[in-house]
């Protein structure tokens, strides 16, 4: 069955609902983890599924089911974050470039510290280096909440900028900056790893 058939059947068919959960749980978990961290992300996603179950009849198909489910998850995660008083302003501290990248250029805008020649410079060789992959996961985990959320939604979930704006609640230009800074930070860490062998 495709999504529309599953959604139609789900209120009266547990098996159809289970298929939706199996299909989209992980996408929602990525978003919840990005916003609120690992410890209660699963709880947030389960709460989101409960909301979805109760409001399936309100789904009008104006966006894809995936976008709708992710939006509900993001709202639940932000609600929990506010409840736990960990929240920061979503519009805070957004600058154009990752600060550590700025140090790599001289006053004329040319490279003063150009990229290292990477020992592993193919997708396969990078992916096969477990230490590097651990380093990337560690770096992603250390991105600030806004950057991690924007990066996850764009590069992991493949959402459009408009969809990300609606979920995070910031302007398109700020979403672009958040994504760019997150990617540059990851680039910096991989470059450093290639140069020193350390994360």
């Amino acid at each position: 069955m495709d999504d529309s058939q599953l959604i139609t059947a789900a209120p009266n068919d547990d098996n159809a609902f289970r298929q939706l959960v199996a299909k989209y749980y992980n996408d929602m978990l990525v978003v919840a983890r990005a916003i609120i961290g690992d410890s209660i992300a699963d709880d947030v996603v389960q709460e989101a599924w409960l909301s979805i179950y109760k409001s399936l009849d309100k789904f009008e198909g104006r966006s894809s089911f995936k976008t709708w489910a992710i939006t509900i998850t993001a709202n639940e995660a932000k609600r929990r974050l506010r409840k736990e008083s960990q929240t920061t302003s979503l519009e805070g501290l957004i600058q154009g470039m990752e600060p550590s990248m700025l140090e790599r250029y001289d006053d004329t805008g040319r490279w003063s510290k150009p990229p290292t020649l990477w020992h592993e410079d193919s997708p396969d060789s990078l992916l096969s280096n477990q230490e590097l992959m651990d380093c990337i996961q560690h770096t992603m985990g250390n991105l600030n909440e806004q950057q991690r959320t924007a990066l996850s939604l764009k590069d992991l979930e493949g959402l459009s900028l408009d969809e990300i704006c609606n979920i995070i609640g910031v302007s398109a230009s700020n979403v672009r900056v958040l994504i760019h800074r997150a990617r540059q930070r990851l680039f910096q860490h991989i470059d450093h790893f290639q140069e020193t062998g350390q994360c």
């Binding site: 699963d42 599924w49 410079d121 990078l126 992916l127 680039f187």
Partner: protein, 80 residues
């Protein structure tokens, strides 16, 4: 001609193909001439690729826990 720093600032929009043609052409010309920026853009694309693959793997048995949660909520709060 664009400076190396400007290429870096625009690199996400460049690889995501969100730049107007004139800026895109400016970057293409710059990286044709500049070995450091050519390397940077190549590695920047690799960064995006491997970051997608480094995402934390999902848990195995999650569907049952969601269904249990819904069943519990339904029994605790039966519909009118």
């Amino acid at each position: 001609m664009l400076k190396c720093k400007e290429v870096s600032e625009l690199s996400s929009d460049y690889v995501d193909r969100r730049l107007p043609w004139r800026q895109r052409a400016g970057i293409v010309w710059h990286i044709f001439l500049c070995v450091h920026c050519r390397r940077y853009i190549r590695y920047f694309r690799l960064t995006i690729f491997v970051s997608k693959k480094a995402a934390t793997p999902p848990p195995d048995h999650v569907v049952d826990s969601v269904m249990d949660r819904i069943a519990k909520d339904t029994s605790d709060n039966p519909p009118d």
